[in-house]
Assembly symmetry: C2
Homo-oligomer: 129 residues x 2
């Protein structure tokens, strides 16, 4: 399974080199000519393989992100609701909270699925003007 086909290569190429986060809409536009059914099937397969992660966007559509090899080490991901950027929060405070949530609240967090929403520093500055 998982033949090395053209569409597979094209989809993966979009996510190369960095913390790319793409909506289904962006993917279909960049891969103009590829039928959506193929895209959905390929994206789903890549998620199954663990190469991509899939989230629900606020508008109900999907958003995909490349899974970091070996798993992302970040405690949390901070997504700006204005510019859409995603910050990876890799600091001790965050990791402590993860431990605390597990130890004191009995809750094991799925941090591949967890995104904190808010407004990033840049957009806060813009809004303050």
């Amino acid at each position: 399974m998982n033949y090395n086909t053209k569409s597979r290569r094209e989809v993966l190429a979009l996510f190369e080199g960095g913390d790319v986060t793409l909506t289904t809409d962006e993917i279909t536009k960049r891969l103009d000519g590829v039928p959506v059914s193929t895209l959905y099937r390929r994206l789903a397969a890549l998620c199954d393989e663990g190469l991509l992660l899939r989230f629900r966007a606020d508008d109900g559509s999907y958003v995909y992100r490349a899974a970091h090899k070996g798993g992302c080490d970040c405690a949390f991901h901070l997504k700006c609701r204005e510019c859409g950027c995603v910050e990876h929060m890799e600091c001790e405070h965050g990791k402590e909270l993860l431990d605390h949530i597990g130890a004191h609240h009995g809750f094991s967090l799925d941090n591949a699925k967890t995104v904190l929403y808010g407004r990033c520093a840049a957009c806060s500055r813009k809004a303050a003007k």
Copy 2:
């Protein structure tokens, strides 16, 4: 605007008394007979008024929750991906992290929109068996 109509009263009644979280599907079933278009319009209006909060569920549909008067004081909400329960995490650790995120990462969190996903204590125990 916002007349005190039958459907408005019925929708609000569902959210009375506690931390209720309802999917659109549950709402339409409990209010059998009310057309979905009315429900969607009323739910949207109640969100605009600030009485309800609206989130995307994993299946792409909406989930509604009563907005606490004066805003929910919890640092975070922990949602179990198995049983669907939502825990309000009101502890100093969480609040410290909120402050830290603001102070050190320049990120102002919108905690009405932020939900941490994982597995609650009860479901973890069940899974361990």
